[in-house]
Symmetry: C2
Subunit: 193 residues, 2 copies
DNA sequence: GGACAAGCGGAACGATCGCCCCGTTTCCAC
DNA sequence: GTGGAAACGGGGCGATCGTTCCGCTTGTCC
């Protein structure tokens, strides 16, 4: 299936990496709204060069997002290595990772919001990996009694998305984890009252 | 201060109302992103007519938002009439009102997100009324032991904003209150563990 | 009913932004 | 070196959208 293809020329490889790095920073800081010319400017290349390496702005965006999703999926799968007795802490620690670490990345929220973007098949693998690991973490935490029953992965998605946007809004504040703590406590079994 | 001014001509008054109503629906459904021509079309007027009544798109948006904020502020102040013994339920019931009733209104979320908009002095009165009532409801609920301490109005804002966006994403789902329930439980005092 | 201003509509303008084109530069094999 | 292909860059095109302008219509007042 993969066509036999020459390796990229040295300068092309260098420029591709520059564009990706500039895009990573720009998308993280400004979200999908950042003009493509701005990315090209930051990368020190022309707009045409960006389009040589990535056919559309969306493709470039996806390339950045896939990276992030893969990283998160890796961490989620690592959390699955915890023994069942630690399923609760493993779950909540991973949520913390997402919320604190990714909460300031506008691109992730834009991608999750599907802000005018249909994420393609490229992102599907990474997203599926993350989803499955997240679902498994949730199930184990529920089995361990650390998370209330009656929550499914769709609920978790919605809550995480909301918490991410909320965390992002308070990113300039002093304590990055306040919203995360509130949301996580909402997932725990209700207080006996 | 107010200049002596002729009353609007009958057709002008009618058109103004039509534009406001069309804008209300359009902004609620599509958010701030809806093109102004679309609003004019829905109202059955030309774009020029919209600009005769509202100097900018933002002014029109504000007119719609102020309405919504006023309505919410009214309900929040009504909730303040509850006796202190009912402070907890009054607080959570009002949160439900916001989350379920306003969760499907894209304009509110856009406005809260400050999505490219600097809300002006016009909105300030309504927003302040809502904020103060909300803060008072929170303080009373905390005094009644129904809401954990260590939460301030800024936390509440962030969480509400996140919950609104999350609720909005699940608006097509079957149960409108799932996210709300989770978020509210996160505000309650922690389970004794 | 007639005059006149208020109001109307929608074509047109300007800014923004994604995307393409093509003359020029740079790299690499021989 | 040098020829030729790969890559570059930035000007420009087309679409979208907020806003303005102006010739025409319509309500209002005598």
């Amino acid at each position: 299936m993969t066509v036999e293809t020459r390796p990229l020329r040295a300068d092309a490889r260098r420029n591709r990496a520059r564009v990706l790095e500039a895009a990573r920073e720009a998308f993280a800081a400004e979200g999908l709204a950042v003009p493509l010319d701005e990315i090209a400017r930051r990368a020190g290349v022309g707009a045409g060069t960006v389009y040589r390496h990535f056919p559309t702005k969306e493709a470039l965006f996806e390339a950045v997002i896939v990276d992030r999703l893969d990283l998160l999926a890796d961490q989620a799968e690592a959390a699955l290595a915890a023994p069942q007795a630690q399923a609760g802490p493993a779950f909540f620690e991973f949520l913390d990772v997402i919320l604190v670490d990714a909460g300031s990345k506008k691109d992730l929220v834009d991608a999750l919001a599907g802000a005018g973007v249909d994420l393609r098949a490229v992102t599907l693998n990474s997203a599926t990996r993350l989803n499955e690991a997240l679902g498994e973490l949730l199930a184990r935490a529920q089995a361990a009694g650390a998370v209330r029953s009656g929550i499914d992965t769709a609920d978790l998605h919605a809550v995480l998305f909301g918490a991410l946007t909320a965390e992002q809004r308070r990113a300039d504040a002093e304590h990055p984890g306040r919203v995360a703590r509130l949301v996580c406590d909402g997932l725990r079994p209700p207080a006996a009252d």
